[in-house]
C-alpha cells in the first residue's frame, strides 16, 4: 500500500461539523452497549474506529444512520438531529452511505439494478440518468464489465466494491464502513482497500470500523479506540500507534499487530 500512503494530514478537512454526537447512551435490554459517547466529525475527516470484539463499534456507526435507535443523548448528522421523526431519518439516510461486512447486495437484481435501485426509488432520478451515474461509479471501482451480472456471480472483493459503488450512487456526504474487508480472502482485501483509499483522497467524510491498521495509517486523520462501549482513546494515527496512552489500547495493539 506504500504507493498510496500519503500524509493523511494533507487531505483537506473543513471546519464544518458533519457529525456531532453528544452524551449518547444506548442499551440493549438492560445491557449498556454505548456509554456516554461524545464525538465530533468534521467534513472531510477520515476516522478509523477500532477496538476488541463486542466493544460496540458496529453499534456506534449503526446509530449514526439510525439502523439502531439510541436512547439518550443527541446525534446530529449534517445539521439534522436523529429523533424518531421519520423525515429526519430519511434525510440523514439519504446523505449517509453505509457499507456492510457482508456486502448485503440484493441477490435478485443485477449489479446495475442494485446500483440504480435507490437513486430511482428514493431520489426519483430518471432511470437513464441513474444508470449513467451507476456506470460511472462502477468504472471507478473498476468493474464496469460486470454491470449485467448478478451478485452471486462475483467474487467477494468485487461484491464489496459493488456495495461501495451502490452507496456512492446516492451521492452521500458521509460514508460509514463496518469492517468492510473482514469477510474477504486476503487477496481481495487489497482491491477493496484501494477503492476506499481513493475515496478518501477525494475528500469523502468517512467513518470506518476496521482492523486494517495499514489502512488506518495510510488515510485516517484520527483513530478512535473503543472498549466496553466507551471511547477510550482517540488520536491521530501516528501518535496512536506509536505512542498509545491507555493500558487497554496498548494491550489491544500488541494483540492485533503481533497477529
Amino acid at each position: 500500500m506504500a504507493e498510496t500512503a500519503r500524509d493523511p494530514g494533507k487531505m483537506q478537512v473543513s471546519d464544518e461539523v458533519a457529525i456531532q454526537i453528544t452524551a449518547m447512551n444506548k442499551w440493549y435490554g438492560t445491557f449498556h452497549v454505548l456509554r456516554d459517547i461524545n464525538m465530533t466529525v468534521r467534513r472531510g475527516e477520515r476516522i478509523v474506529i477500532c477496538g476488541p470484539s463486542g466493544s460496540g463499534k458496529s453499534t456506534l456507526i449503526r446509530c449514526i444512520n439510525r439502523l439502531e435507535e439510541h436512547q439518550t443523548g443527541q446525534i446530529v448528522v449534517d445539521g439534522t438531529e436523529l429523533t424518531s421523526d421519520l423525515k429526519n431519518i430519511d434525510k440523514v439516510r439519504s446523505e449517509v452511505g453505509m457499507v456492510f461486512q457482508h456486502f448485503n447486495l440484493f441477490p435478485h437484481l443485477t449489479i446495475l439494478e442494485n446500483l440504480t435501485l435507490a437513486p430511482i426509488w428514493v431520489r426519483k432520478t430518471p432511470k437513464k440518468e441513474a444508470e449513467e451515474v451507476a456506470m460511472h461509479y462502477l468504472r471507478k471501482v473498476k468493474i464496469p464489465e460486470q454491470a449485467a451480472k448478478y451478485p452471486g456471480q462475483l467474487s467477494g472483493g468485487q461484491q464489496q466494491r459493488v456495495a461501495i459503488a451502490r452507496s456512492l450512487c446516492m451521492k452521500p456526504r458521509i460514508m460509514l464502513f463496518d469492517e468492510p474487508t473482514s469477510a474477504l480472502d486476503p487477496e481481495m482485501i487489497k482491491e477493496v482497500l484501494d477503492t476506499m483509499i481513493e475515496l478518501a483522497q477525494e475528500g469523502m467524510t468517512m467513518l470506518c470500523v476496521t482492523h486494517e491498521m495499514g489502512f488506518a495509517q495510510a488515510v485516517a486523520n484520527r483513530v478512535i479506540f473503543m472498549d466496553q462501549g466507551q471511547i477510550v482513546e482517540q488520536n491521530e494515527p501516528r501518535e496512536f500507534f506509536n505512542n498509545p496512552k491507555s493500558e487497554r489500547t496498548k494491550l489491544f495493539l500488541s494483540q492485533i499487530l503481533g497477529h
Binding site: 452524551a23 439518550t72 443523548g73 429523533t83 424518531s84 421519520l86 423525515k87
Partner: protein, 425 residues
C-alpha cells in the same frame, strides 16, 4: 451535564402522528383497530338485521331439546331421547376417537413405510415410493370412498357365518369363519369384536352433557399409577447402571408393574369379554364397529401415513452419516446407535411436522361426512343443524370446538419444540 437536547422533544405537533416513528405505530394501530371494529360491527349488524328479518334469534337452548335421532357409534350412553347437546358430545367423542386412532395408526404405518423406503432393498423401496406417491397425489376423499366400498364389497355377509342344523348334519362348514377363535367377525356391515364388560362396575354419575364413569376412572388411575411406578423402576435401574456400570434387566419387572395391578383391578370389577355371536339377522353382543368408522380410519391413516413416512425419511436422512460412523467408531452396536444417537436427533426433525400432521388428521376427520360417520360435524353440524335449523349456532359452536382442539395440539407442539431446541452458539 444539563441535556440541551431535551428541549426539542417537548412539543407535540399533529404531523408527528404520521412522521414520528413513536407515534406512527400508535396511529397505524388505532386506524387498524378502528377498521377492524368497523368491519366486525358491520358483520354483527348485518347478522342482527338478517336474523330479525328471518324472525330468528341466537339461542343455544336447542342443545337441551330432545334429539330424536340415533347414533350408531356411542362412547357414552345415548338414546334418541337424549338431548342435542349430548348428541354433540357423542359426536365430539367420535371425532376424537377416530382422530386419535388415525394418528396412532398413521404413525405406525408411516414410520414403518419411511424406514422401509430407506432400506437397501430395491424392490421394497420402489413399492413404498409407489405407495407414497399414489396416496398423496389423490384426494383423501377418494380414499375414503374407496375404503368404504372395498369394505362393504369384499367382506362376507353376516349370514355367511350362519350354521344351520342342516349344515351340521351335512358336515358343511359355513361360508365364512370368525377370526381369532370366534372373537372377531369381519362382515360387510362392520367389524364385530368382543366387548369388554364389567360384572361389578363402580357405577357412574350423570352430569347432563357428560357422564362420569367411575370404573373407567379407576382404571385410568391404576394405569397412571403403574406408569409412575414403572418410571420409578426405570430410574432405579438407571441409578444402578450409573453406580455399577451394568444395567439390571428390568423387562420382567416392568411387565409385572404395568400389568398385574391392572389385571387385578379388572378381576375385581369382574371383567369379562362379551363375544359377538350370530343370532337372527346379525351378530349380537360384542362391539360392532361400523364400516363408516373403519373406512374413515383406514383412509385417513393410509393417506396421512405417506406424509409421515416422508417426514421420517427426511428426519433420518437429516442425521448426517458422520454421526453413525462416529458412534460405530466408538464401538456402539447398530441398535444402540439407533437408539442413543440417530433417534434423538431424527426426532427433532420428525416431531414438529408430525404434530402438524396430527392436526390435519384431526381436521380431516370432518370428511367422515363422505361415509356418514356421525362425528361432531355429523351430529352437531349435520343432523342437529338440519333438524333445528339453527345453522348459525351450530356452525359457530362447531368451529369453536375444532379451533380449541387445534390450539391444544399446536400448544403441545410449541412446548415440544422449545424443549428440544438444539443449543447453538
Amino acid at each position: 451535564m444539563a441535556m440541551a437536547s431535551d428541549a426539542p422533544k417537548g412539543g407535540f405537533r399533529p404531523s408527528m402522528l404520521i412522521y414520528d416513528t413513536r407515534y406512527r405505530a400508535i396511529t397505524i394501530q388505532v386506524i387498524v383497530l378502528i377498521l377492524v371494529l368497523l368491519c366486525v360491527s358491520w358483520l354483527v349488524h348485518n347478522t342482527m338485521v338478517n336474523l330479525a328479518a328471518k324472525d330468528k334469534d341466537i339461542n343455544f337452548g336447542f342443545l337441551w331439546n330432545r334429539a330424536g335421532y340415533d347414533i350408531d357409534q356411542q362412547l357414552i350412553p345415548y338414546t334418541n331421547d337424549s338431548s342435542h347437546g349430548r348428541a354433540a358430545v357423542v359426536g365430539l367423542l367420535n371425532t376424537l376417537v377416530v382422530a386419535g386412532l388415525a394418528c396412532v395408526l398413521a404413525t405406525v404405518i408411516g414410520v414403518f413405510v419411511g424406514i422401509l423406503r430407506l432400506s437397501k432393498n430395491w424392490l421394497v423401496g420402489r413399492l413404498m415410493t409407489v405407495y407414497i406417491e399414489v396416496f398423496r397425489n389423490v384426494p383423501v376423499l377418494l380414499w375414503i370412498f374407496v375404503a368404504a366400498t372395498i369394505l362393504s364389497e369384499t367382506m362376507p355377509e353376516p349370514k355367511d357365518f350362519k350354521v344351520t342344523d342342516a349344515m351340521i348334519a351335512a358336515g358343511q362348514a359355513p361360508k365364512a369363519a370368525m377370526l381369532f377363535d370366534g372373537a372377531v367377525a369381519l362382515t360387510n356391515r362392520g367389524t364385530n369384536i368382543p366387548a369388554p364388560l364389567l360384572s361389578r362396575p363402580l357405577g357412574s354419575l350423570d352430569l347432563g352433557l357428560i357422564t362420569l364413569n367411575f370404573s373407567f376412572l379407576a382404571m385410568l388411575a391404576v394405569i397412571i399409577g403403574s406408569v409412575l411406578v414403572h418410571r420409578l423402576l426405570l430410574r432405579r435401574a438407571r441409578a444402578v447402571q450409573e453406580a455399577t456400570g451394568v444395567r439390571p434387566a428390568t423387562w420382567w419387572k416392568s411387565l409385572i408393574v404395568l400389568v398385574v395391578p391392572f389385571v387385578a383391578l379388572l378381576f375385581a370389577l369382574g371383567f369379562h369379554l362379551d363375544y359377538p355371536v350370530f343370532k337372527g339377522f346379525n351378530f349380537k353382543g360384542g362391539i360392532n364397529l361400523a364400516h363408516s368408522f373403519t373406512a374413515l380410519l383406514l383412509a385417513l391413516s393410509l393417506y396421512s401415513a405417506t406424509y409421515i413416512a416422508e417426514n421420517v425419511r427426511a428426519g433420518v436422512m437429516a442425521v448426517s452419516h458422520g454421526q453413525t460412523e462416529a458412534a460405530f467408531a466408538l464401538g456402539l452396536r447398530p441398535s444402540r446407535t439407533t437408539r442413543l444417537i440417530i433417534l434423538p436427533q431424527a426426532l427433532r426433525v420428525i416431531v414438529p411436522p408430525l404434530i402438524s400432521q396430527y392436526l390435519s388428521i384431526t381436521k380431516n376427520t370432518s370428511l367422515g361426512i363422505a361415509v356418514s360417520y356421525l362425528d361432531l360435524r355429523g351430529t352437531l353440524g349435520g343432523i342437529t343443524l338440519n333438524q333445528t335449523g339453527r345453522e348459525l349456532e351450530c356452525m359457530l359452536l362447531m368451529m369453536l370446538i375444532y379451533l380449541i382442539i387445534s390450539l391444544i395440539i399446536s400448544a403441545v407442539m410449541n412446548v415440544y419444540n422449545s424443549s428440544v431446541k438444539l443449543k447453538e452458539r
